[in-house]
């Protein structure tokens, strides 16, 4: 078994022992049970509201797990001096970072799949109580769940990057959360700049904001909630571009995280 596989398996075991994860999963299960009930708050789009609640709850769950585990995993290993003992052996720091990253990404995938399946049941129950005008497009719903997962894996790579350079838990945690908010809003800001509001700004300010826009992750491209809720068609071209963007951005962030962690003084 390779060093990388060892790190991966050990990280998975460590994650599954985390009690916080069980608390979060219990809450998620409770939310799933309540979705059909809460959907009745809608006047006449009960099914649509159940899809909205399912996707929003999944989004929040993945965000909490990605930020908490991403921000704490490397920091905890350094704090507990686990890295000091392990990295004394002939193993690479890159394998440690990538192994841990993939372990959390696998955990996120399992959560997304489980919650997605639970959501299907909750939506079916809600939809049975009130006939909807439009049927659920399950393929679009599945795509929305997948892209929500990809979005959080991208965020996870940034949490790892911050964790790799930080000596405390708070910086990667808060920075990841801030990046999540900024990355969700960046497209709106960019589009606003392209309109009449942007013309009123100084060219240097516009250039600076555009620079920040290209630096930040663009999470809005991964948001397929509207399409899933209202059974709107997807644009395959945009989805392919988004996937390529995901691979490039995540790979880049993870590479910088590995590079930073490899050069970090851990003594």
């Amino acid at each position: 078994m390779s060093t990388f596989e060892n790190f991966f398996r050990l990280s998975i075991t460590s994650l599954l022992r985390d009690r916080l994860l069980y608390l979060l999963l219990s809450l998620a299960f409770l939310v799933l049970l309540l979705i059909p009930l809460f959907s009745m708050f809608s006047l006449r789009q009960v099914q649509e509201l159940s899809v909205t609640l399912s996707l929003s709850a999944l989004s929040l769950l993945l965000l909490v797990v990605a930020v908490l585990t991403g921000a704490s995993s490397l920091w905890r290993d350094v704090e507990k001096r686990y890295t000091a003992s392990v990295l004394g052996l002939p193993v690479s720091r890159g394998a440690l970072v990538v192994g841990k990253f993939l372990a959390i990404a696998t955990l996120l995938a399992a959560i997304a799949a489980l919650f997605g399946l639970g959501s299907v049941l909750a939506i079916k129950v809600a939809a049975a109580s009130y006939p909807a005008d439009i049927p659920v497009r399950w393929d679009v719903f599945a795509a929305a769940v997948c892209f929500e997962y990809l979005k959080n894996v991208m965020l996870l790579s940034l949490a790892f990057l911050f964790s790799a350079v930080s000596t405390s838990f708070y910086f990667p945690f808060l920075a990841s959360f801030a990046i999540y908010l900024a990355g969700s809003a960046s497209q709106d800001v960019f589009e606003m700049l392209s309109g009449s509001y942007g013309q009123a700004l100084l060219p240097s300010s516009r250039a600076l904001i555009k620079g920040i826009y290209y630096l930040l992750p663009n999470f809005s491209a991964f948001d397929l909630k509207t399409q899933a809720i209202y059974a709107l068609p997807l644009s395959p071209g945009t989805l392919v571009l988004t996937c390529i963007y995901f691979v490039c951005y995540t790979g880049l962030a993870l590479s910088v995280a590995v590079w930073s962690f490899s050069r970090r003084e851990l003594a």
Partner: protein
């Protein structure tokens, strides 16, 4: 020991305060319960990609607030509704999630009959039609508003045509035809209310429609009585009371809005309540929606 005493004191204090505290919070002014929403420009970036959820939250908030007003009305307690705040909240919801049908459905239900803010409602419905391209109800509402409230049958026609095409529902075709013939306004309104009532899950909204339905059934009963009177005696009745005096009706129906039915100069049945709740002062009717939907 001291620790136990302190803990017991806190527990006693909590038990003493919990009932009055809960009562005080439950009896906050209705306006406080509705609150105010930040603008959609602020909410969009803060929503973290969950703007559909926030839009629905805004609608539910308005719905709860309005539902409480309806409940109070049924208990004969008349409160002045915060229509402007409600409309602003719904506009915010529409800008956050233009596909949300509850926004348009509720706006149609609450802002046409009570306040006759037909232009504002129609603007919101037009905005919704750009997104909900499959939904026959928005053109149906627009057609109804133009025909029933505006009496502009030419403007209503294309909307009904669109609604009929989208729904393939004979009701739409029937309604369009009857609107174009400009007859049976109360019956049309009654059918519309029944249509709306069948398509909601909210009990308070169903109750609201029930009140309006009873008012329209009363008007329709008087109208049919007046037609019977004309057939029997050759002349239209001068007053609604003539229908009872001549034995055409056993009694005059009760207007649930507290008004009295009367016949206008054209012989059309109307009510002194104008089928609106007495909480709505005339000057308030002009003070609603300000923001435009672009």
């Amino acid at each position: 020991m001291i620790g136990r005493i302190v803990c017991a004191l806190f527990l006693c204090g909590y038990l003493a305060v919990i009932v009055p505290f809960t009562t005080a919070v439950a009896h906050r002014p209705l306006a406080v319960k509705l609150g105010t929403m930040p603008s959609p420009e602020v909410l969009r970036p803060l929503s973290g990609g969950n703007r559909q959820f926030i839009a629905q939250y805004a609608v539910v908030k308005v719905l709860f607030y309005y539902g409480t007003l309806v409940e109070k009305f049924r208990e004969k307690i008349y409160l002045k509704p915060e229509y402007e705040n409600m409309f602003d909240t719904l506009q915010t919801a529409a800008k956050l999630d233009p596909w949300n049908s509850d926004v348009y459905y509720f706006t149609q239900a609450a802002f046409t009959w009570e306040l006759r803010r037909i232009d504002e409602v129609n603007r919101l419905l037009e905005f919704g039609m750009r997104y909900r391209t499959w939904d026959y109800q928005l053109p149906f509402f627009l057609g109804f508003n133009n025909a029933y409230f505006r009496k502009d049958y030419a403007a209503a026609a294309p909307y009904f045509e669109k609604a009929a095409k989208l729904s393939h529902d004979p009701l739409m075709v029937n309604l369009s035809a009857r609107y174009f013939s400009e007859s049976g306004q109360n019956e049309m309104a009654l059918r519309f209310i029944e249509f709306m009532q069948r398509r909601t899950t909210d009990r308070k909204m169903i109750a609201l429609y029930e009140i309006r339905k009873q008012a329209l059934i009363g008007a329709l009963t008087v109208q049919k009585g007046a037609e019977e009177y004309r057939r029997r005696f050759g002349t239209p009745p001068a007053r609604v009371s003539d229908l009872v005096a001549k034995g055409v009706l056993k009694s005059i129906p009760r207007d649930p809005y507290g008004g009295e039915y009367y016949l206008d100069e054209k012989g059309v049945v109307r009510s002194t309540s104008k089928f609106a709740r007495p909480s709505t002062p005339p000057q308030q009717k002009g003070g609603v929606p300000s923001r435009r939907m672009d």
